[in-house]
């Protein structure tokens, strides 16, 4: 098989695995949304039939996605040597766009998270959807930090995505994120002396700023490193 054919096949398998992963994640979201109905406080109750449908749909999405991922195998030629490096170079551009979208997605969730924290602080009943948004925010922050620090990279992609330059760029980006987060935490300690409610509201903002600053810095450094090349 010619190199381009192998790369095309690998691309199709990657795409299939990506859709399968999205199916699993969406399934988890659906199941999570269903499970959030069991948290006390929200006066809205769903019928058992609706809940069964939600859990059935979510479960089916997880199982189907999982099976597709299990049986989608990348050709071995595309996981080693020159072809693996070519694939990893292409993957790098896509990852870079993802870094730019991280702060955006955290920013979109912030309002819901702060509203939920306000309700808890005011001893008001929290809505199911807010429980879900807070859980999603926490999970996203953890996933983004793992991605920014280079966790979960396939072994075949490491010569490109985890080489010396990548590690140095990541260290610089994470350094900025740490600075922002530590500065924000110091600010929160100071704020807590005169306004505890505001301090709690600002916790997710500091977390989002820390992760966001690291991801934007990573994006710019990666972009700068690729400039005027051949």
């Amino acid at each position: 098989m010619a190199d381009e054919d192998i790369l095309a096949l690998a691309r199709r398998v990657d795409m299939r695995r990506k859709f399968a992963l999205m199916s699993v994640l969406l399934g988890l979201v659906v199941v999570g949304a269903g499970a959030s109905q069991f948290t006390p406080g929200d006066p809205i109750e769903f019928s058992p039939l609706v809940l069964e449908s939600v859990f059935g749909l979510g479960g089916a999405m997880i199982v189907i996605g999982g099976l597709v991922m299990l049986f989608s195998r990348t050709p071995p030629e595309a996981r080693a040597g020159r072809l693996a490096m070519m694939r990893a170079e292409r993957m790098r551009a896509k990852r870079n766009v993802a870094f730019l979208l991280m702060p955006l997605s955290l920013g979109l969730m912030l309002t819901g998270v702060i509203q939920a924290l306000n309700k808890v602080g005011g001893a008001l009943p929290i809505e199911h959807i807010q429980v879900f948004v807070v859980s999603a925010f926490v999970i996203f922050v953890l996933i983004f930090v793992a991605l920014l620090s280079g966790q979960g990279l396939d072994r075949w992609s490491k010569p490109v995505l985890d080489d010396e330059l990548s590690r140095q760029i990541r260290a610089k980006a994470l350094g900025l994120g740490y600075l922002v987060m530590a500065g924000g935490l110091a600010g929160l300690v100071a704020t807590s002396l005169f306004d505890r409610a505001l301090t709690i509201d600002l916790i997710p903002v500091v977390a989002a700023l820390g992760v966001g600053s690291a991801s934007v810095r990573l994006f710019w450094l990666e972009r700068a490193a690729g400039g005027d090349g051949e």
Partner: protein, 73 residues
């Protein structure tokens, strides 16, 4: 001690060998961006990478990398 910087002739060596940055990157096993930033003296490679680059051109490492004394002493 004067301020020392690392200079390199990587781009010249690569051009002479008729390689693109991507081809050299594949040969050495790093990303194209690494080659680009080393050539532009933005990134200082480790000893391992410097030796790997020299090996790729079958040249001693001193011919590819050298020190520039910015102090002018």
């Amino acid at each position: 001690m004067n301020e020392l910087k690392l200079g390199n002739r990587l781009k010249d060596a690569r051009t002479e060998a008729g390689l693109t940055q991507a081809e050299l990157a594949l040969k050495v096993g790093v990303s194209r961006k690494t080659i680009n930033t080393v050539e532009n003296a933005v990134f200082i490679p480790s000893t391992t990478l410097a030796l790997a680059l020299a090996k790729a051109f079958s040249q001693p490492v001193e011919t590819l990398f050298f020190l520039i004394d910015e102090g002018g002493a």
